[in-house]
Amino acid sequence: MRRLLWLWSGMFAGLLLLLLALWRMQLGLGSQYEVSLERQSVRRVRIPGVRGRIFDRDGVCLADNRPGYGIAVYLEELRQAGRQARTVHAVRRLLDQVAGLTGMASPVSDRQIEEHLFYRRALPLVAWRNLGQREMARLAEAGAGLRAVDLVVDFERVYPQGAAAGHLLGYVGKLEHVDDEESYHYYLPDLAGRAGLERRFDEFLSGRAGGQLVRVDVAGFRHDEISARPAVPGGDLTLTLALDIQRAAERALEGVAGAAVVLDPANGDVLALASSPGIDPNWFCPVLPRTVWSRLLTDADKPLLNRALGGTYPPGSIFKPVVGLAALEQNVINATFTLDCPGSFKLGNQTFACYQGHVHGVVNLRRSLEVSCNVFFYQAGLMCGIEALQATSRMLGLGRRTGIAAEGEAAGLLPGRAWKQQARGEGWREGDTCNIAIGQGALLVTPLQMAVVTAAIANGGFVYRPRLVLGRRRTLSAGFQEEPPVMVRKINWRPGNLDLVRAGMLDVVQGSAGTGRRGQVPGVSVAGKTGTAEYGRKQDGRKHGWMIAFAPFEHPRYAVAMVVDEIATAGGAEVGPRMRQLLCSLFQVPEESI
């Protein structure tokens, strides 16, 4: 009898051992097994957020998302026992069936099915994208009988305004790599900003990707979806751009390569920022054909360049108001200071001519601005010196990026002694100062910089950082966050000095001898300055045409800078009419009334 008790004790001990082991495994180490369970049966899928939209200041949509419907095939319902080729065959058969119903050729090859089975087995295979209404209707009719087929929605980027502000908006491309803090097994197609605002604000616009956990079975097919962290849609951007002004600026540049920038002098808002030739961001969606891309890259007109802020040009005569202000502030000239212009100016053995050898006679500052007398500014520039010119220019923001919230801005070049020593290994000469004084030499500016200069002259010396983004809205429920205008500095020009320059600029357009008369707009007093900037080799005689303008003179609402890459005659003659066209649109003056 005691032996039976021994036997029982042994067995009881055995059962107890099992119980302890189970205790340890299920309650002690359980979480460790749960981790391995997760690892082997759960796949993380990255789900991109819906990209935010971009609006102009009046709420007109510039960049939007269009839902595109696609047909997805759920592989787990088609799987066949045995070799994978049988599953591929089953998928193929279904695709052919759908193709027959909808009348669309199947875009997926057997090889792609195999690849999908290999790499993305847990995800449905999206066989068709961007279904038309007709295909959708046909599928809906036949859909009930189709197993393992479903409609899926994804979003495609569209730019409803076509090429308007195309450079500024930029475009999106397929996201290649995702460096997320989390690692995923699968990625769904996502968009990434490739240029322009789409790139600059990519993080904001793209929102936060969501994750989905897909439970797979032992063969790796989708079993169910466990839980998902929803994707956070991207935020919306509102620009300071006004679509009608943008359109007008682009129209004014029709047929030429060039750029135009319209700023609000009161706060630096960018109302229009146009570059010609333009690009339509829709070309890039969903994918830009390689041939178009290579054409864009090799085109002599460089359509991909946003000239308005990335193009650097010698300013030519539109720099003269800056020189005038510098000389006035240096007290080397005043309102009554006059010079006699014989058509040229001799410095040592060098001769600096007035434009096309014009003889302007006795001119003061105001008159020399109106007629754009080079001789006056050579001497005014020499009298105040390169340092003073540089200082005034720098205060107005030349020689460095304005800091606009856009991609591809250039800094331009504001040369001086140090620059020349470093870049050319030579000392600065007075002749260099003469060249700078008429906006030539090594001086380079962007249209945007000149618009800022124009705005500062128009508003009494307030230099603003051009504001492109009026505000943003991170989520639908969040409020609209305005980005306040940023004033870089207030330049304290002595009273009278600025008025004098402004008066000269008014004469440029409104005066009888003004070079910018073609920019006149009936009923609006326009002030401005024209420029004809030579570039390249002298014997080629190539010229950029410029005009800056602000209006109305008394209470300026717009400051404009416009450049045309290639002109035959002079800035006033060729850019002036374009400026007038733009100003007429701005003030809603019918052009025929002139």
């Binding site: 036997l7 189970l22 495994m25 079975d217």
Partner: protein, 392 residues
């Protein structure tokens, strides 16, 4: 009829209840394990219900039949078992399924696994040998005969090959001899000899690779000693944590994940991901690995329930042995209880990685007809002893 009523009332109702509960649990989880699978597996639980019904009939039949009836026919039954075991090797009758001949078929229909029959036959024969009146269990010849009786089916089953089932016969012999009063010294000696054999096998498995033998040479050596590459693999998988994670190690790893991730209350009936998603191999989940399914879906609570019910049955077996009216009854109960215990212990230990993977089913829970009938008959014999036992 009145006599039958008395017998019925004298049954050990705690054991009967435990048996019925376990049968129900088994059917439920075979249902659960089959649902995500092909149609054949989905209806497996219906067949198991049939087997359970048949098992209950056998249980009652054996319980109400005086066990002396079988005792008198013990030799017949024993040799019938051996004959059936031999039939497995006859082409056309023995079926080879995944490398092992464990089944007897007739006209293409799989009938039974003779090993299950032979186990009962052996227990009866050992009870007859040691339990016959006026036999001195200390007699060395008796012990040698007992050893011989055990080793005959042992080798036949081991060469099917089914080493796991064969090994179960040894503790059965031990249990019977212990209950029969074989001197402790002899028992220790036998246990020591068994340990030596085990140690030798382990050395054969582990030493040559450590000495730098190449695999082919090692396998030849093992084969000469009667260890197949398959068995070696099973043991290596058990000994090395992550050996062969895709093949032999898969079942072990997946079973452990299933059990471990069950936590306290489990994932819920039909919610076991390891089970539903097929990580727990679909072919073994309803039979050898049914405990993994239960442990995953019902957690530690489920494990505890199953172990407790098994303990009730095992304790009931020992109680029957204590109450047995004679030595024969006591030996029968000891042998059968040892058999049941070995199945429970080895099966659960293997599902949680404490022992190498062997094909031992879990009594009353695992799917399978022959095993169900065998186990229920055995438990019926225990009841037969208990019913006729003395009560204090």
């Amino acid at each position: 009829m009145r006599r039958l009523g008395i017998l019925f009332r004298r049954m050990d109702w705690s054991v009967v209840l435990a048996v019925i509960l376990l049968l129900g649990i088994g059917v439920a989880f075979i249902f659960s394990a089959g649902q995500s699978q092909s149609a054949a597996y989905q209806t497996l639980y219906l067949k198991q219900m049939l087997w359970a019904g048949l098992g209950i009939v056998c249980f009652l039949g054996f319980a109400f039949t005086d066990y002396h009836h079988w005792y008198h026919r013990a030799w017949w039954l024993y040799f019938l078992g051996l004959a059936l075991l031999l039939l497995v090797f006859v082409p056309g009758i023995g079926v080879r399924i995944s490398g092992a001949r464990r089944w007897i078929q007739f006209a293409g229909v799989r009938l039974l696994q003779p090993a299950e029959f032979a186990k009962l036959g052996l227990i009866l024969a050992l009870a007859r040998l040691f339990g016959a009146p006026a036999r001195n269990p200390r007699h060395r010849r008796l012990i040698l005969i007992g050893l011989g009786l055990t080793l005959a089916p042992f080798f036949l089953i081991a060469s099917q090959p089914d080493l796991g089932t064969a090994l179960v016969l040894l503790p059965v012999l031990g249990g019977v001899m212990l209950a029969a009063g074989v001197p402790a010294r002899t028992l220790w000696g036998l246990a020591g000899a068994g340990a030596l054999v085990l140690a030798a096998a382990l050395i054969l498995l582990l030493a040559p690779p450590a000495l730098g033998w190449d695999e082919a040479r090692h396998e030849i050596l093992l084969e000469r000693c009667g260890i197949s590459a398959y068995q070696k693999n099973r043991v290596m998988v058990f000994l090395k944590r992550d050996a062969d994670p895709l093949d032999a190690g898969w079942n072990k790893a997946q079973s452990q994940i299933a059990v471990g991730s069950g936590r306290l209350w489990g994932k819920g009936f039909q919610r076991g991901t390891q089970n539903i998603l097929g990580f727990l191999p679909r072919t073994v989940a309803p039979n050898d690995f049914i405990f993994s399914v239960i442990a995953e879906e019902k957690g530690f609570a489920g494990s505890l329930t199953v172990l407790s019910l098994m303990a009730v049955i095992i304790y009931g077996g020992l109680r029957a042995a204590l109450a047995a009216p004679d030595r024969i009854g006591r030996l029968l109960c000891a042998g059968i209880t040892a058999l049941i215990f070995c199945h429970v212990f080895v099966n659960i230990a293997m599902t949680i990685g404490l022992l190498p993977i062997t094909g031992l089913p879990l009594p009353l829970l695992s799917y399978g007809g022959t095993f169900m009938v065998g186990a229920m008959s055995a438990l019926g014999i225990v009841q037969s002893v208990y019913i006729r036992g003395e009560r204090n």
